[in-house]
Amino acid sequence: MSDRDQALLDEAVKDIARLKKQRSSQLYLVWLRFKKNRLALVGFIMVCIVLFVAAFAPLLTPYDPYETDPFNRLKAPSRDHWLGTDELGRDVLTRLLYGTRIALLIGVLIVLFEGTIGISLGIFSGFFGGVIDSIVMRLVDVLRSFPVIILAMAIAGIMGQGIMNVIIAMGIVGWTTYARMVRSKILSIKESDYVEAARSIGESKASIILRYILPNTLPTAIVMVCIMMPTALIASSTLSFLGVGVQPPTADWGSMISAGRDYLLDAPWISTSAGLAIMFTVLGFNFIGDGLRDALDPTIKRA
């Protein structure tokens, strides 16, 4: 190492340190943009509340979501039971709070399941094209011809109920949405100059996927996840409603609406509060999804 090199390096380090102080990180910029969207911010707060509740559910309530009390059934909201009790004398609020966990679990698992499959197939199909692409895209065409709920219902009807089966049934169709989006994104990235530039400096295929395509697909994927999450929540609650979803006694909102609908006349608080809980969460995610889509997409003209 020559001294000149060392001097260059020192100078560079100084330079960089100065700049780093001045500027804010990319994530922070995205946050700034995101924050500007009021609804997105509201959504963010809503989802934060949901996450908080999910994390601390046991601390927020003295009751057990599964402890039935046959002699306290269908009690109207009161000081002891803020949202009343359900048909088994369980505290509705407690079940709502714990239901947050189930909802998030289902939502996250579905999104994870379909996202992983969809995004990886989308990448493969988009990047390698050819036969793989044709097969994947025909598969997508086929599966997308079936309404999610209907296919999921048929599958769950056959496989039996339960959280896992709901997730699998939803995922079998759900991944296609990701695959399509990611694929088209990748097709455009693949054609971009910077990928061609990467090839021209000798990057390997794996490296191109890893360093160039994936990071640029990430925003799309994140937005997709935020948009698909509410869809997954609604769909899984619909399956519960149709009797092929999550089983009781799981504190699942869909099942709560489903069970509570029979008491709509004399104990409306059960299904109403569960319905509102779903709405709250889904609304939050939808707002976030909308906001993120704008915040992560620098091409949208901002006025």
Binding site: R138, V148, G157, I158, P230, L283
Partner: protein, 311 residues
């Protein structure tokens, strides 16, 4: 060029056929990939051996799978979708009885969602970043966030029971169509309003809009004649793409509103393990979607001169 166009259509039709084949395969396999004996699944565990044998005979369950598929699909082509186990009647007949109500419901739901969605999309785009726009966005997200079955129950409760405006459930005249159609339509409206807004904004940003304005055309003509026409064309595909969701939404809504269509039929058939019916409805709905996509492409190419006339 005619040749190019023909080859495009040939490829598009081949694609549709491949998809249709895949769709039929999925509908077929739904029953056959399930662990267990399909005959047992269909009849339950307590039927007589003779009954099982009859079912195996009827659906060729003793043959190898590919052959079974061929039997089934050739039956489909002959209009023989099998017999309902529950009703002991040809599935086709049962479906014929129920497809009308479903089409009526879907039709009105689509009508609501498309007109409302497109209208709100346009207004939101024109009044961009005004309270009207925010409201349009908000209401779209709002409808999307309500579980449809719950919305249906609420509608019934409020407008059927409390206000007595409409009959509760069943299919008694036009009034009983309103709320099931609204339940699906409002939700799906969001799926059209948002793309429509985006599409409209995109079009409004185009130079040719500026150009027709620069020509001195009236604002209303600019919007109606130029912007709308351009923004609507991509919506054709959008609508076809959303079709499965509209149908999917109608399933649960049909149940809630006791609407005697294919959706509630499917649900009860799944629960009753009436598999010939389940297969047939799955096939029918999916084929409807496949065809709708093809028609959308066709329409698109008829309406959009960029595809229509090749120099």
């Amino acid at each position: 060029m005619a040749g190019r166009k023909r080859s495009f259509w040939i490829r598009r039709i081949v694609r549709t056929l491949v998809t249709a084949f895949g769709v039929s395969l999925v509908a077929f396999l739904i029953l056959h990939l399930t662990p267990g004996d399909p005959a047992k699944i269909m009849l339950g565990p307590y039927a007589s051996e003779a009954a099982y044998e009859a079912i195996r005979e009827r659906y060729h369950l003793n043959e190898p799978l590919p052959l079974q598929y061929l039997y089934w699909i050739s039956g489909v082509f002959r209009g023989d979708l099998g017999d309902s186990i529950r009703y002991n009647r040809p599935v086709l007949e049962l479906i014929k009885d129920r497809i009308g109500p479903t089409l009526a419901l879907m039709g009105s739901a689509l009508f609501i969602s498309i007109t409302l969605g497109i209208f709100l999309g346009i207004v939101a785009a024109i009044k961009r970043n005004t309270p009207i726009d925010y409201f349009a966005t908000f209401q779209a997200v709002f409808w999307l966030s309500i579980p449809p079955f719950w919305l249906g129950i609420l509608f019934l409760y409020i407008f059927g029971l409390q206000l007595r405006w409409v009959p509760i459930g069943g299919m008694v005249g036009f009034t009983s169509l309103i709320f099931p159609a609204l339940t699906i339509g409002l939700r799906d409206e969001a799926w059209f309003a948002r793309p429509m807004r985006a599409e409209m904004l995109e079009v409004l940003n185009q130079d040719y809009i500026k150009a027709v304005k620069a020509k001195g055309l009236k604002y209303s003509s600019v919007i109606v004649k130029h912007a709308l026409r351009n923004a609507l064309i991509p919506m054709i595909t959008m609508i076809a793409l959303r079709l499965p969701w509209v149908i999917g939404g109608s399933v649960v809504v049909e149940v809630v509103f006791s609407w005697g269509g294919l959706g509630s039929f499917l649900v009860s058939s799944v629960l009753a393990r009436d598999y010939p019916v389940v297969q047939a409805i799955l096939l029918l709905i999916a084929m409807l979607v496949v065809v709708a996509n093809l028609v959308a492409d066709l329409l698109y190419s008829v309406i959009d001169p960029r595809i229509r006339k090749e120099s």
